[in-house]
């Protein structure tokens, strides 16, 4: 008799446990839903799916450039000089006219012009 009762109680407990677990996971999903909406609106986090589709499209069309990670170190080992134009009227750098020159060593004259500064401004008078 006791075994029978124990079995019934166990079945009842298992049922309750299953429902409780599902309800908790349901509430968790609701929280995630609102959290995701909040993050998208308030924290302006972009939708990953939309970006993923965009990347997939570009990969399929092959309309991309390629770079090798192994080239990073080579680039890093070299110093660079950036030549650019600054429009004093608009206060903006003209990026499309910017060029980057990698070098391993500078000539004495250029070194002297830089002296201990990072930048030289050539003014157009």
């Amino acid at each position: 008799m006791l075994d029978k009762i124990r079995e019934l109680l166990k079945r009842a407990w298992d049922s309750l446990k299953k429902i409780f677990t599902k309800v908790v996971s349901f509430l968790q999903n609701i929280v995630n839903f609102f959290k995701s909406k909040y993050d998208a609106i308030i924290r302006k986090k972009p939708n990953a799916k939309a970006i993923s589709i965009k990347i997939k499209e570009v990969l399929e069309t092959g309309d991309y450039n390629t770079v090798n990670m192994s080239d990073f170190d080579t680039n890093l080992s070299k110093d660079k000089i950036v030549n650019t134009f600054y429009d004093m009227d608009t206060g903006e750098i003209l990026e499309e006219e910017t060029e980057v020159i990698s070098y391993e060593s500078l000539d004495e004259q250029t070194k002297a012009q830089f002296s201990d500064k990072d930048m030289i401004v050539l003014e157009n008078n």
């Binding site: 839903f33 995701s36 990953a48 799916k49 990969l59 309309d63 450039n65 170190d73």
Partner: protein, 144 residues
């Protein structure tokens, strides 16, 4: 071993008849059936909610984006196993006054390592070499 004493025992003994147990079992079966229905409904609702929950990009604020910081991002964020990285140029964020880039890690077949796992970089300054990688394209694939 459960030891029942006193009045509880008398009550329990009077209730624990074969007949009552059958009633209890019948009732429990009904409760279980109703429970299963509730579980199925919750499953359906869960699926609907998950389908309608937007997966968002992981946003990173980067003061200076250069080869070092890119390598650091590749190492520390997102899937660890990848063969290449899709590096997509986003629209300039005028309000934040920042450049925007997206990163997705790819496998050897150029498929996402993890579906919809996207890093979004808001960048203050950038190594001038990086925009040059893009040329007239909006995306660069960086291979290992």
């Amino acid at each position: 071993m459960v030891k029942l004493i006193g009045r509880s025992y008398a009550f329990f003994k009077s209730m624990a008849t074969e007949e009552n147990l059958k009633i209890a079992e019948k009732f429990l079966s009904k409760v279980e059936k109703a429970g299963e229905e509730i579980l199925n409904k919750i499953d359906g609702l869960n699926e609907t909610i998950v389908e309608n929950t937007d997966k968002l990009c992981e946003v990173l604020e980067v003061d200076l984006l250069n080869m070092d910081s890119l390598n650091e991002i590749f190492d520390n964020y997102g899937s660890k196993k990848f063969e290449s990285v899709a590096f997509l140029k986003g629209e300039y964020d005028k309000k934040r006054d920042k450049r925007v880039y997206f990163i997705q890690k790819l496998d050897r077949n150029k498929k996402p390592v993890t579906e919809n796992e996207i890093l979004c970089l808001y960048v203050n300054n950038i190594d001038p070499a990086i925009p040059q990688w893009f040329g007239d394209k909006e995306m660069v694939v960086i291979s290992k």
